[in-house]
Every structure is written in structure tokens, then in C-alpha cells.
């Protein structure tokens, strides 16, 4: 073969595929640029995500611990009867507790200056917890009981580093001298930190009682709302999309419906709140602040999302499946329910869960139906009353806390965001799992 005599180091022609000419260079450079841009975009996205998460976790973590006074307290039957006889019973309980704590401190030779007032400033609102306990356990009267009761939000903040000596200079809620008492009590083990269970399980509390505030009741409120949304939006949405996709004739009227469903998906959520107030509360007479009404409003908001995703899932089922079913003699309805719908189910469920997750984080529509504000009813008495008894929702609770004067509630708001994010994450993970597990490819 003498054709190979072409020398290896001979200058390549402009049409050689091994040489990169100017145009190829330009194209390659463009691709490199695009890749770099793409990676940059992902990098920026990741950066913000990390910033967001670290901020949330750093700001929210303090909400999950609380500072308590751990002491033995004895309430006599006579004291109990007397306290129950007053109008402001919880205050009477608190006074008894403060007096006894003072005696205990005096016995323990606490060196710092203290009087009933400084103890009162150090303690949170203890009356409510005490009264609830003794009302439920009258047999515990006249004998010592161990209590872990929340300290005031400023003592809590002091141990967490939020409140400093300079910070309380002008404050009348906690004096600089009280900090000595706190330090000494902490050294003696009377004041200590523990996991904040009341935050997970409790209900909202008054603005002067951040130590008692919890998100539990609003989680239950959100749960009942999601039940309503699921029970209404899923069947209605799926039925509507099956009809539109499989049965409806294509004409101007169905086109109009389609356009309106897409429009509805873009309507600001506050509009649904106004609608809910006018239709469900003022016209239908449903109770205010009830998860039922909240659920109905969120159903309206979620429907378009579910319809759109269900229609996409139905469209993705190949026509050959339908044709085969029809070919062996199945009716149109049998085709849809026996063959198309099961195959579209993963897509429908994913859309539903994402719709629910969106509804879970929504505050604006709840503003007008009475679910945003001070709603501290606690847990509902039964399953059915859970729909109608006044309750809040997680995002509404977070919003309420963020608007309060005491900075301790700000921590709570961040803590609430963490809880809300955990729920959202679980729902999204569930959507991914469902999609992975049941997805069929053709």
C-alpha cells in the first residue's frame, strides 16, 4: 500500500476532520460557555438553597429547646380550694408557686438578691400548667410533685444567647440583677434546658407567654384541611379530567373550559379566600375559623393543579392501549377505568400530592376566613368536630408568631417553618417514590 505515503506531519487541508477550523472552534466554545453557564446556574441555585437552609435551621433550632425551672411543689387542698374560688385562678396558682419557690431558694442559701418580683420575672406563665395538672389529678394534692415549668422568654433567651446584659438595660421585663439569680439557679441545676415538647404538641399561647406556645394544634388544623382537600379535590378533579380527556367532544365550549381551568390555576390565592368568605361563611353559614371552610377554599385552589396534572397523565397513556382494549370489545368506560386510569395513576397521585403540598403552605386564602390570628383552642374533642372547631393552620400560625412583639416568638416562627418544611419534604418524597415505583414506560 503506497497510499500511506501521505506524511503524518504534512500540513492539513482546511477540510480535514482532524483540524479544528475557526467555525468549529466557535461552536465548541459556545458549547463550553453554555455548559459553564448551566453549571453556574445550578451552583447559584445550590448556594441559595444552602443559605436558605442554614438560615432556617440556625434561626429555628432555638425553638426546639426550652429553659425550665425544675422544682418540687406541694399544693394543699386548702390552697387548691382557695385558688379555685378566685376569678383569675391561674394567677392564684402562679402566686402560690412563686411563694413556695422563694422558700425553697431561701432554704438552699441562694446568694443572689431575690424577692417575689424577681422570681416572677424569671418564671414564665406557670399558672395554666399547674391548674390543668391539679384539675386532672386531684389525688396529687397535699403531696410533693415534680414540675418542669417554662421560664420567662427572656431568661430562655439569655441562656440561648439571644438576650444580653446590654440588651435588657432599658427593659422592665428582666433586670440585670435577675441574671445573677438565673446564673446561680442554673449552677444549682434548678434552671436547665430540655427538649421543647410543648412546642411540638401544644397550642398557641398569649403574647406574654412564649414559653407555652406550640404548633401541634395547628398541625392538626392543617391535617383536617388536607383531608377535606383530598376528599373533594381528588375525586372531582379526576372525574373532570377523565371526562374532558376521554369523553368530551372537542368544540368551542370544551376549549373555553380548558382555557378557564388554566386561568384558574393562575388566580392569586387571596381571591379564593374572598370567595370562601362570601360563599361558605356568609352565604352557606359555615362556621368561621373552621378547618372545613379552610379545606373547601384550598380545594378550589388545588382543583386546577390536579386537573391539569391528571390530564397530562391521561394523555401520556399511549393510544395503542385504548385501541387494544376497544378492539377486544371493551366499552369506552371499561377501557378508561380498567386500562387507562390504572396506568395514569402514578401521574395523578404525583399531581395530587404536589397540589396538596402547595395547599399546605398557603396562608393568604385563610386570612379572610378567620384562621389567621389568635386561635388557641387546642385539640378538637373528636374526629368530626375537628372539621368545625376553630383552629389555625401551620403557615397561619407561623405568620401570627412572626408579627408578635416578643422576639422569642420570632424563634418560634422559624421553628414552625422547620416543621412545615419537614411535612412538605415528606409529601414530595412520597410523590417521587410513587412515581418511581409505579411508573410504566412504553
Amino acid at each position: 500500500m503506497t497510499d500511506t505515503s501521505l506524511p503524518q506531519n504534512a500540513p492539513r487541508g482546511s477540510n480535514s476532520i482532524l483540524a479544528t477550523d475557526a467555525r468549529t472552534k466557535k461552536r465548541n466554545a459556545a458549547e463550553k460557555r453554555f455548559r459553564a453557564l448551566g453549571m453556574g446556574a445550578i451552583g447559584i441555585g445550590l448556594f441559595f438553597l444552602i443559605v436558605l437552609f442554614t438560615t432556617i435551621i440556625r434561626s429555628g433550632a432555638p425553638a426546639f429547646t426550652r429553659t425550665v425551672v425544675d422544682v418540687q411543689f406541694t399544693l394543699t387542698q386548702a390552697q387548691y380550694d382557695e385558688a379555685e374560688g378566685t376569678l383569675f385562678k391561674t394567677a392564684a396558682y402562679a402566686d402560690l408557686f412563686i411563694a413556695q419557690l422563694g422558700e425553697i431558694l431561701a432554704e438552699q442559701d441562694v446568694a443572689a438578691d431575690f424577692d417575689a418580683e424577681s422570681i416572677e420575672r424569671t418564671l414564665g406563665k406557670v399558672g395554666g400548667t399547674l391548674r390543668e395538672f391539679y384539675r386532672a389529678n386531684e389525688d396529687q394534692l397535699d403531696q410533693p410533685v415534680n414540675f418542669s415549668l417554662a421560664t420567662s422568654s427572656r431568661v430562655d433567651g439569655y441562656l440561648k444567647g439571644r438576650v444580653t446584659l446590654e440588651g435588657i438595660e432599658d427593659s422592665r421585663f428582666l433586670m440585670a440583677s435577675d441574671l445573677d439569680l438565673v446564673d446561680e439557679l442554673q449552677a444549682a441545676g434548678v434552671i436547665k434546658s430540655e427538649f421543647n415538647w410543648p412546642f411540638i404538641t401544644g397550642a398557641d399561647s398569649g403574647v406574654d407567654n412564649p414559653g407555652g406556645a406550640g404548633i401541634g394544634a395547628s398541625v392538626v388544623g392543617s391535617f383536617f384541611m388536607m383531608l377535606v382537600v383530598l376528599a373533594l379535590a381528588l375525586p372531582i378533579g379526576v372525574a373532570a379530567s377523565i371526562y374532558l380527556e376521554e369523553f368530551a367532544v372537542q368544540n368551542r365550549f370544551t376549549d373555553l373550559i380548558e382555557v378557564n381551568i388554566s386561568n384558574l390555576a393562575a388566580v392569586p390565592s387571596i381571591v379564593f379566600g374572598i370567595l370562601g368568605l362570601a360563599v361558605f361563611i356568609q352565604f352557606a353559614g359555615l362556621p368561621q375559623s373552621a378547618p372545613l371552610v379552610g379545606g373547601l377554599v384550598l380545594t378550589l385552589m388545588t382543583l386546577p393543579t390536579i386537573i391539569i396534572s391528571t390530564r397530562a397523565a391521561l394523555k401520556a397513556v399511549p393510544p395503542s392501549i385504548r385501541e387494544a382494549a376497544l378492539g377486544v370489545g371493551a366499552s369506552k368506560m371499561q377501557t378508561v377505568f380498567h386500562h387507562v386510569l390504572p396506568l395514569a395513576m402514578p401521574g395523578i397521585l404525583t399531581g395530587t400530592i404536589i397540589g396538596l403540598a402547595q395547599a399546605l403552605g398557603e396562608t393568604a386564602p385563610l386570612l379572610l376566613i378567620g384562621m389567621v390570628g389568635f386561635v388557641a383552642r387546642g385539640y378538637p374533642d373528636g374526629f368530626l368536630t375537628g372539621f368545625t372547631e376553630a383552629n389555625s393552620a401551620m403557615p397561619a400560625q407561623i405568620y401570627t408568631w412572626a408579627a408578635r412583639a416578643d422576639a422569642a416568638f420570632y424563634d418560634k416562627a422559624w421553628g414552625g417553618i422547620i416543621i412545615l418544611l419537614i411535612f412538605l419534604m415528606f409529601m414530595n418524597i412520597l410523590a417521587v417514590i410513587l412515581r418511581r415505583r409505579f411508573e410504566r414506560r412504553w
Binding site: G128, G167, D170, F173, D208, Q282, P287, F374, R377
Partner: protein
């Protein structure tokens, strides 16, 4: 197919629960209105739930005007029972109420609240104000060299050499807040009169009413910002702007003394004592309004009102005073009024 059954049963469950809801009457007191009264109302509501067998009332915020608007929507379970307000109800609101069948209204004054002017703890030295300073800073039209002109001032020092030479930036309550009305009456109008702007306006041919209205006009060039949200929003603005002056309730300031420093008004420092004695000029009474028609229908309405104004709560040593409310010296008269259900 089980799907159809599932659909049918979920619809049935919803229908049942919905009808159960309609059959059941509301058992909790529903309150809405002023965000200034909200903290006090929430303290009382929590205590009411803890100390009685009634469920904890629901207290919504939204501003005095919004609350009174909802209050006047009519009588019945799907309307609120009590409206909180940081100003007295207006004649026009009473008319709207009456037109919608809300005729018997009980007015309850719960105490007084001071309005304070505060700035960033580390910001410029805004320590002393008089109403004229505030008026000169944010009035739409002010008196300069004997003539009424569009507000020309950019910094505080331009009209009062004792104040810092920094850009004017005031965050005042929006018009839906009752606080705005007090701010207008006790600060802007006072300042307008004190600077002589009002007299100059009247000399220029305006009627007294027109001049008063003109005095309350706030400049629209961004140096004064209306805050429609809560005090936390004002605080966030002050946090971001070292030169910002915010208008707060006394209780809110006292809760945030680590971030804010307060200025005296006409030489008086705001605190519960100076407000109670009337020395501190910018204070206003706080109210709530009860629908008499709901007493005896919605459980706990009257009990809640009586609990609210009881000495143990609204008195000088109660939790409300501890939070920053200046208790009403005539509390016993108010307790009697609530007990007798005296309407306006």
C-alpha cells in the same frame, strides 16, 4: 371498580361532616380588629380559656377599621361578636351597623396606650421631639419663611438644628390602623398649629375644616412611609434603616428595648406612669365593642367581656398592665357598664 366506590364514600363523608357543621352552633367567641388591642385580647383570651369552661376565644387582627367593618356586617353566628378598636367607633360606622341590623352596641374602654417614636438603638441621636418636628418632617405642606409651600425639607436639621442632620425617613401607621387617627390628631394637627401652618392656611382663604384636612396630608415623596402591617414590619424597616423613625405602641417598644431607643415627646418620656397621668401627650384609649344581640346566643360573650375588664386582668397589677397597657382609672364604672349591658 373500587375507585367509584371510594369517590362515593368520600363525598358522603364530606357531606355528613358539612351538615354536622351547619347543625352545630358556634361555641367560641369570635373577636377581630385592632392589631394594637390584639396582644391584650390574646392574653385575656388565653386566660379565659384556662380559667373558665368556655373554649378559648378566637382573636383576629387586621386593624380597627377592618374589624369594625366586619362587626357591622350584621347579626348572627357567621359574624363576629366583638370588635377591637384603638379608636372610638365613628358615627358613619354606627350608621352602617344600624343599616345591617346591629343596633345595640356596648362600648368597653379597656385602658390607654401610648404611642411612641423610636429609632434604631445605635442610630443617630433622635432623643427629643415636639409635634412640630414631626409635622415639619412629613407634612405635605409646611410653613417656610411665613409662606405655605410643598414640604422642601430633606433632613431633620434643616428645620430644627437640635436634631441630627440625616435624611428624613418616617414609618407611620397606615390609614386602616386606629393608631393613625391618634397620630394625626395628637401629633400632626398639634404640630400644624404650633408651627403656625394652620393659621397661615386659614389666612390664605381656607376654611378651618379644609385647613385641618390639609394639615393631616402627608408628603408623598417617599420620606414618609405608611405601614399597613403590624409593628413588626415597622421594626424591620427601622432595622434596615439607621435613620428611620418608627411609630410604635408603648408595649411593643418595651418588648424590644434591645433594638429600639425611644424619644421624648414635648420633653416627657413615655412610660405607663406618664401616660396614666396624661403628661405624655400622645396616648389614646383602647376599646372593644360588643354586639348585645349575641349575648346569650353565643356562649361566653358577656363572660369574656366581664373577665377582660375585671380588676385581676385590666387592673393596675394585672397581666395587661404588666404587658404595657395603662389601666383605666375608671375601671369600676366600666365593669358596672358591662355587667348591666349598657349600650351606647
Amino acid at each position: 371498580m373500587s375507585f367509584a366506590k371510594l369517590t362515593a364514600s368520600t363525598l358522603a363523608i364530606t357531606a355528613v361532616s358539612a351538615s354536622a357543621a351547619m347543625a352545630q352552633s358556634r361555641d367560641n367567641v369570635q373577636v377581630a380588629g385592632s392589631s394594637t388591642v390584639l396582644p391584650y385580647a390574646s392574653i385575656v383570651a388565653e386566660a379565659f380559656g384556662e380559667n373558665t369552661d368556655f373554649p378559648t376565644p378566637v382573636v383576629e387582627s387586621g386593624g380597627s377599621s377592618a374589624g369594625l367593618k366586619r362587626f357591622c356586617e350584621g347579626v348572627g353566628e357567621n359574624t363576629i361578636d366583638i370588635a377591637n378598636a384603638s379608636r372610638a367607633i365613628r358615627e358613619s360606622e354606627i350608621e352602617t351597623c344600624a343599616a345591617n341590623g346591629v343596633t345595640d352596641i356596648i362600648e368597653v374602654r379597656i385602658g390607654y396606650d401610648g404611642i411612641v417614636f423610636a429609632s434604631q438603638q445605635d442610630g443617630p441621636a433622635f432623643n427629643e421631639f415636639v409635634p412640630s418636628d414631626i409635622f415639619n418632617a412629613i407634612g405635605a405642606q409646611v410653613l417656610v419663611d411665613g409662606e405655605i409651600t410643598e414640604n422642601p425639607f430633606n433632613t431633620w436639621a434643616e428645620f430644627n438644628g437640635d436634631l441630627p442632620d440625616v435624611e428624613i425617613a418616617m414609618f407611620i401607621p397606615g390609614t386602616k390602623h386606629g393608631t393613625r387617627e391618634v397620630f394625626e390628631d395628637k401629633v400632626l394637627l398639634e404640630g400644624c398649629e404650633a408651627t403656625g401652618a394652620m393659621q397661615a392656611m386659614m389666612d390664605g382663604g381656607m376654611s378651618e375644616d379644609d385647613a385641618e384636612d390639609a394639615c393631616l396630608d402627608v408628603r408623598q415623596d417617599g420620606k414618609s412611609v405608611d405601614i399597613d402591617g403590624d409593628y413588626t414590619e415597622t421594626l424591620a424597616r427601622i432595622d434596615a434603616n439607621p435613620n428611620g423613625i418608627g411609630v410604635f405602641g408603648l408595649a411593643f417598644y418595651e418588648n424590644n428595648t434591645d433594638k429600639l431607643k425611644v424619644a421624648t415627646m414635648s420633653g416627657v418620656a413615655p412610660n405607663t406612669d406618664s401616660i396614666a397621668s396624661g403628661e405624655y401627650p400622645v396616648s389614646r384609649p383602647l376599646y372593644f365593642y360588643i354586639k348585645k344581640a349575641h349575648i346569650g346566643v353565643i356562649p361566653g360573650v358577656k363572660e369574656f367581656a366581664q373577665f377582660f375588664v375585671a380588676d385581676e386582668l385590666a387592673g393596675p397589677s394585672g397581666p395587661l398592665a404588666n404587658y404595657g397597657l395603662v389601666s383605666d382609672p375608671e375601671l369600676s364604672a366600666i365593669q358596672e357598664m358591662v355587667a348591666n349591658e349598657e349600650t351606647m
